[in-house]
Symmetry: C2
Subunit: 256 residues, 2 copies
């Protein structure tokens, strides 16, 4: 049925307007409330009159909300975002196992997916006495510096790993692995054992054990991790737990 | 600073394109994965060629993702949605109290806000043996048929309540209150006591006690609730708990 498919050959029409609208939407950061036209223009790189006009259009369309003389991201974007299948399917299946992991380990549990050279956190169940961590739901961190990122990369095609190496292994925490040779050897070790470790690589004083959630083809579709204070959590004690939960979750998803 | 404000008098420019883009984005439902052009056209009410072209533009802009011959909502929408202040500020403050409520009551805990005549669920912490409920995070239910909706409406301006009455009190569950006089008397009772009840009004066999999260002006900015099986949960036992947590959360928010 010809009309049902999206041809790769078809050229998209002029989407300048849409690109500008996306530039305005992505100008808002996680800790922003309302922004004015000047700030929107500065962050989106658009002329102020253009940013102002597009913000008004986005208010009309219900994607932004007025807040006095400023605008902020509207609730409709939250509603649409919750329907995104890549996070919803994985999270809905994962949350019961994440709860069990938190109860069994008394540590913070993360669920993340890979996007380019970064991980995006899909769900976080925090322990009550957890350290302040750099991760937040919907937020990103460089994949190479995190347990979940390394667990996913160890079970990803070579071109995906290459993209991360090409992006550069920047130093994020005190002990981020930044040498490409060391990094690829570590991925080989993770592939063998099924568990990745982050020893103060994403943040000082924080340890993490992570394990991949595998799809039917054996490639990672995400990863689970358990994180805690380096002086209060033993990696050897939590690693088998996170590995078990990730294997169970992978099997659950395969049976759907 | 003139350029910093959004004039209410300013007329938005032609936003036909944006309206169409929003029609395509909102055509996706919570349980959809990829959709084809014909289905997108049918749901959005756009001609098929238009739906097809806009979907390609949205892929280019990173808001949709290709999935074989279909398209689906992209991860970027989830990331933007997580930054929406109306849900983020409330949820970040509420989650610790919601965890405590779930632990103390062993029941399912909801957090919701009002949007028009409906409530939007911002967070749900499910109990392990909870009944299947009609609520989901990012999903909507008619406000008048839910505990959280009634708790919010009892602490909202008269015009907000009138909008709900104008929308019509449709029957949702076996015992939804559909008589306007009865409904407004119930709101008066909730205003007195600070707790709203849902006795199989949103779903059969399910009970709920809810309490408003109040802003500095005494108006509701959201509501917390505890829900469970009608034959396993006593409303009298959970009502003081949810009322306590909602009062604590209101005070926490006021001190920020």
């Amino acid at each position: 049925m010809v009309g049902h498919v999206f041809y790769s050959e078809a050229m998209p029409s002029d989407d300048t307007f849409l690109r500008r609208a996306v530039a305005v939407l992505t100008a808002f950061r996680a800790d922003d409330d309302g922004l004015g036209a000047a700030e929107l223009a500065r962050r989106s790189g658009l002329p102020r009159s253009t940013a102002h006009r597009i913000a008004l259009d986005l208010v009309e369309a219900g994607l932004l909300e007025r807040q006095g003389p400023r605008v902020r991201l509207g609730l409709k974007l939250f509603e649409i975002g919750q329907r995104v299948p890549r996070q919803r399917v994985l999270r809905d299946a994962a949350v019961p196992y994440m709860s069990d992991l938190r109860e069994a380990t008394r540590q913070t549990v993360h669920l993340a997916v890979l996007e380019g050279a970064e991980v995006v956190y899909v769900e976080i169940l925090g322990a009550s006495d957890a350290p302040k961590m750099p991760s937040q739901v919907g937020g990103r961190l460089p994949a190479h510096a995190t347990g979940v990122g390394k667990a996913i990369l160890a079970f990803s095609p070579p071109e995906v790993v290459q993209r991360v190496l090409d992006a550069g292994l920047v130093k994020v925490g005190e002990r981020t692995v930044v040498a490409p040779g060391l990094f690829t050897r570590e991925l080989a070790r993770i592939r063998e054992e099924g568990v990745a470790y982050d020893r103060e690589e994403s943040g000082n004083g924080i340890l993490c054990a992570a394990s991949p959630v595998l799809g039917p083809d054996g490639e990672a579709i995400g990863a689970l991790s358990v994180s805690g204070w380096s002086n209060r959590m033993r990696l050897a004690a939590v690693a088998p737990a996170v590995h078990t939960a990730a294997l169970t979750l992978s099997r659950t998803l395969a049976h759907r």
